[in-house]
């Protein structure tokens, strides 16, 4: 057992910060893109047209059964083939994240919308509002409020998921730390740091989500 050298963290802080910036970018793109696509998927799943609802539920079921690592490999292989020239692994990872997380955001949006009672949309239609107006003015405001804690929880999961870009050699926070760990032979210090940083960020977000949920009218 060697002595610990915590100075390695200070010396590599710039490199680690770059890694964290990439993790943050992945979380941001996956969440914004995933929510938009997930919202569309949720509307498709709730539609009464089977042509819309069946493909959407099939998509969600398949994505939720596959490990993210496999999805990352799929896109790492497919994206350059589709474009016809090699692109960096960042583009394919971003696409994989958006399409993967959309399936999970879809379920959150769907739960949020189904929680608003049916009578309300009937009542809205009876007052002469159009379907899109009912959705925009009556259902969505309530659904969004109910969805917030679940979305926060999902963001924590997405943040944890971003560590998986390790498998396509993108330098996110974990991968940056692992590069330093093997270069300087400081695995203990680096992985402990990574664990503590993730723990602090994820735990505080989880607790904030719990706090928010308790304040909601049930």
């Amino acid at each position: 057992m060697s002595d610990f050298d915590w100075g390695v963290i200070a010396r590599s802080s710039g490199f680690l910060a770059d890694g964290m910036a990439l993790s943050a970018l992945l979380v941001l793109v996956a969440t914004v893109g995933g929510l938009i696509l997930g919202f569309g998927l949720a509307l498709m799943r709730l539609s009464s047209h089977r042509l819309l609802s069946v493909p959407a539920s099939a998509y969600v079921t398949v994505m939720r059964t596959l490990p993210l690592v496999l999805v990352l490999f799929w896109f790492y292989f497919l994206v350059p083939l589709a474009i016809g020239r090699p692109v960096g692994s960042l583009a394919s990872a971003l696409l994989a994240f958006v399409l993967f997380e959309a399936a999970f955001y879809c379920e959150i949006v769907r739960a949020g919308i189904s929680n608003v009672r049916n009578g309300q949309s009937d009542a809205g239609l009876a007052t002469g509002l159009r379907r899109t107006q009912v959705l925009r003015l009556i259902i969505l405001p309530q659904a969004l409020r109910a969805m917030m804690p679940l979305v926060l929880n999902q963001i924590v999961i997405v943040f944890q998921d971003t560590s998986l870009v390790y498998v396509v050699s993108l330098h996110d926070f974990l991968t940056a730390a692992s590069v330093v760990a093997s270069r300087d032979g400081r695995a203990t210090e680096m992985y402990t740091l990574v664990a503590v940083v993730y723990l602090v960020i994820c735990l505080s977000t989880t607790k904030a989500a719990e706090f928010y949920r308790k304040g909601l009218p049930s």
Partner: protein, 239 residues
């Protein structure tokens, strides 16, 4: 897009052997991790519902810590850090003499992470179904420990078979993380064959179907258990 389809790679002896071997490892790691997760989850879930304040706090601490560190980081902690921080003799044993070190480490790491998630379900089951039955159980003359062990715990566990299905599926998906420390499971082997043959479509399709079939088996098995003894059976039972 020009791509030369060649589904025959899946049937070439070498590659077929690799892929099936990978599938086998995925199943082994998933089942072993799930066994660890269930054991840990039930124990921590019981501690989380215990009358002792310190037991509840410790169990809560376990759940918070293990759920809020990414599973891949936990895997690296067990694999790279643990042998360095334990006494030398034990560290050496971990590195040298432990049979199948990568697979065993993966099972421990995935099992302990999934165990924290299972513990939350167990606690919820005891709270929602088991705990309300305690006064009735105590009124029949059972001692508190007996009432918990014979009534509240079994009924609480039976109620959560449904929610445990998705935890089981998550455990199967987590088994793919073990490729980062060198276990050649399904995802690793499909990547491996792709590197040799460049037939990504075919091999990743094989892996995708593999995971879908495992997922269907898990869902079917848990549905069966749920109908026989789980929440679905409890709801059907005459009052």
């Amino acid at each position: 897009m020009n791509y030369r389809w060649d589904w025959s790679v899946l049937f070439k002896d070498t590659y077929m052997g690799w892929l099936w071997n990978g599938l086998l490892w995925t199943v082994i790691i998933s089942l072993a991790s799930w066994a660890v997760a269930l054991t840990v989850g039930v124990l921590i879930g019981i501690a989380r519902s215990a009358p002792s304040r310190s037991a509840r706090l410790l169990a809560g601490l376990y759940i918070d810590v293990f759920r809020n560190i990414p599973p891949l980081v936990q895997l690296f902690l067990w694999y790279f850090v643990l042998p360095e921080v334990v006494p030398d003799a034990f560290g050496l044993w971990l590195k040298r003499d432990l049979p199948y070190p990568e697979a065993v480490t993966a099972v421990v790491a995935i099992g302990l992470f999934a165990g924290a998630r299972v513990a939350e379900q167990v606690r919820a089951g005891i709270e929602a179904v088991g705990a309300p039955l305690m006064p009735a159980a105590l009124a029949t003359g059972l001692r508190p420990v007996q009432a918990f062990r014979l009534i509240a715990l079994p009924l609480g566990l039976r109620a959560i078979v449904g929610p445990l299905t998705s935890e089981f599926l998550i455990t199967v998906k987590l088994s793919s993380l073990s490729l980062t420390i060198g276990v050649l499971e399904l995802t690793a082997q499909s990547r491996h064959v792709e590197n040799y043959t460049f037939q990504g479509f075919e091999v990743f399709t094989f892996a995708t179907i593999g995971y879908l079939v495992i997922g269907l088996c898990v869902t079917g098995l848990m549905r069966f258990i749920d109908l026989k003894i789980g929440g679905a059976a409890l709801r059907k039972a005459p009052a």
